[in-house]
Symmetry: C2
Subunit: 378 residues, 2 copies
């Protein structure tokens, strides 16, 4: 693939599409922003698609252009890692609806020239996956050696196996679920209401003006709590107070400043998020996640979603993840078993809650490495 | 006490105070709004103080003047109930900082004539209790037969036993904690940031204008999720969609309306809350709760807080309460044991999370009834 301009870093392309959306509408043309690492082999059997989470992006193992930070999954992807450019042709695509270059509410609507805003169609996880399939066609990749994702990335991996059974040889689903629960929906609804309550949101028409940063920051703060465990927060912060500027341990201010370290941390999470994320994208992607229920089009029987799959599945959950608890992974494994699919499942122990899949987890790496290598030797 | 104007419904009184606050300041004069049910007996041995939760009030067993709803704890308080006006002289006081008639940020500041707003002092749970003691003095009540509370009411009951060991004969603490955890603080901080992000908040100076209703509604929505369990939300709403106006089961709107019943429920919780609660009070009371750590003034040793108490304690937790989980009640019981205090403890099973203490829970009623009667027969 050397010299193939379709591969490499910071790729952008507009494809005709259309994406046939679950809403019944069609969306076209479709912009894609993506990264690839490694080279597609001669028989095109080494392609791995990595799907990102709600606020993730295509910068899996390359520098984020806004934050300047390393890629979000360099612990899993890179030289000597389970997903290795030396062996794999790795593709990561900014999901449709997001804000890092793929079509989303901040993109220009060809019919008006201005940003879509709320005229962007409401999409689903399935729609994101159907869009990705169009890009893979363009890249000349028919079958994926593996599709890998954590959290919302896992929802996409499951949807890939369900929607394109002939194109997926294996799937790795980490800290994820086959449906959003009432509590999941509730937390997302709080975030959406926080954004829409910000007068600067202006029904989504804020591009070129001040963005609804306060609302988005509150949304991020609420969500961030769900990514961590109670025990993890206690270990990391407890009730410790902020240090004073002179470095001494602070005392209560008897005011509304961030007295506790956990308050300061949360405020920082909210404030730094608004620099890199679009509020409307947050609305659209949380909506897609809330709509996600892989069993729904199959009379509520999850096993039916996997009726045609021939893929091998690897599921990993974390015991302190209360956003997508182990019981949700177990439900998927039961459905895969019922569908006769090969599925391995491990619950790992970690104090860090849902975020564990993004952190240093040697056992997770060993499991993913073993699973991928076993597939390559089949 | 017949004809004693200090007792009865819808009582209001201004007392000189001052309340000596934990911040070092003094607060005076102090307004109290309170309800009493039943009659103080000749030896003044039948007084029970009921302490309310964050958004609760003095209308324990009488109609709320704004919502028109029955009192919030008629399941526990009333004729034939464990706390019975036929046997007990029941007092419930709107906490300092709140907005139902006791001194709070919406009250008139005597030094300016206008509302305090953010000039109201930041208070603690201990300050609320010290204020209550001033009112009990006025009522001629020296010793409480029992102090009873759930959630933040339990924090007050614990503080009563710690601050006034000679005035408390027994304490009932339900679904509560002796300290706010990092996660508790984090959720409250989200709520405060939501309020302060609302431009109508205007640094607390919104009285006589539009209140920061959007921010307060978001704060309430986020908090409300923590009052319910994941299982309870699933049982109550699952992924069910809103019915259409014609009564038929709805379908996805592919928009941002409340498609799911849980979204509609949460929005209603947020909207209805702002009609009855003041945003600044929400800031002050959540701050008081976050500051709460009964062990802190005792070198972190909770048992020392109970060194002087001679009270009997009854603790009840609910297995699905993840806001103040059973482990926090157990920690209190261990400290009481270490202090040599008499303590009984039961964890009850309920799918309804933290809110269980407000709901129909016959076992809770039997436990409280037995505990109070045993104390009256001592």
């Amino acid at each position: 693939m050397h010299g193939d301009e379709r591969f490499g870093l910071d790729r952008k392309i507009r494809l005709l599409g259309p994406v046939k959306l679950d809403s019944g509408a069609e969306f076209a043309p479709v912009d894609f922003a993506y990264e690839t690492y490694g080279t597609l082999n001669a028989d095109k059997s080494n392609a791995i698609l990595i799907c990102h989470a709600l606020t993730g992006d295509q910068y899996v193992a390359s520098k984020h252009p806004i934050t300047g930070k390393d890629g979000w999954w360099t612990r899993m992807v890179g030289a000597g890692k389970p997903i290795d450019p030396a062996r794999h042709c790795i593709i990561s695509i900014n999901v449709m609806g997001s804000c890092m270059g793929s079509s989303g509410p901040a993109s220009a609507d060809p019919s008006t020239g201005g940003p879509y805003g709320m005229a962007f169609p409401v999409i689903t996880i399935g729609d994101m996956v159907r869009a990705q399939a169009i890009l893979l066609d363009h890249l000349g990749i028919g079958t994926l050696s593996a599709v890998v994702g954590g959290s919302m990335g896992g929802m996409q991996a499951l949807s890939w196996a369900a929607l394109y059974p002939e194109r997926v040889r294996s799937a790795v689903i980490i800290a994820s679920t086959a449906r959003h629960s009432a509590q999941n929906i509730a937390f997302h609804e709080v975030g959406r209401q926080a954004i829409m309550a910000d007068p600067r949101w202006n029904n989504g028409a804020y591009y070129g003006r001040e963005a609804p940063a306060s609302g988005l920051a509150v949304a991020r703060m609420a969500a961030h709590i769900t990514y961590l465990s109670e025990a993890g927060l206690t270990e990391k912060f407890g009730r410790r107070l902020q240090n004073r500027p002179d470095g001494t341990m602070g005392s209560k201010s008897f005011g509304f400043d961030a007295d506790f370290q956990v308050e300061s941390y949360l405020r920082y999470q909210g404030l730094s998020f608004v620099d890199r994320f679009d509020a409307n994208s947050y609305l659209y992607i949380t909506r897609a996640m809330d709509y996600f229920d892989l069993a729904e089009p199959h009379d509520g029987v999850l096993a039916k979603a996997f009726a045609a799959t021939k893929a091998r599945f690897c599921l990993i959950s974390f015991d302190s993840d209360w956003l997508y608890p182990t019981s949700e992974s177990r439900r998927i494994v039961h459905a895969l078993n019922a569908a006769g699919a090969a599925a391995s499942f491990v619950e790992l122990s970690s104090p860090f809650g849902h975020d564990s899949f993004l952190l240093d987890a040697p056992e997770m790496n060993r499991i993913v490495d073993g699973f991928l290598r076993a597939g390559e030797n089949l």
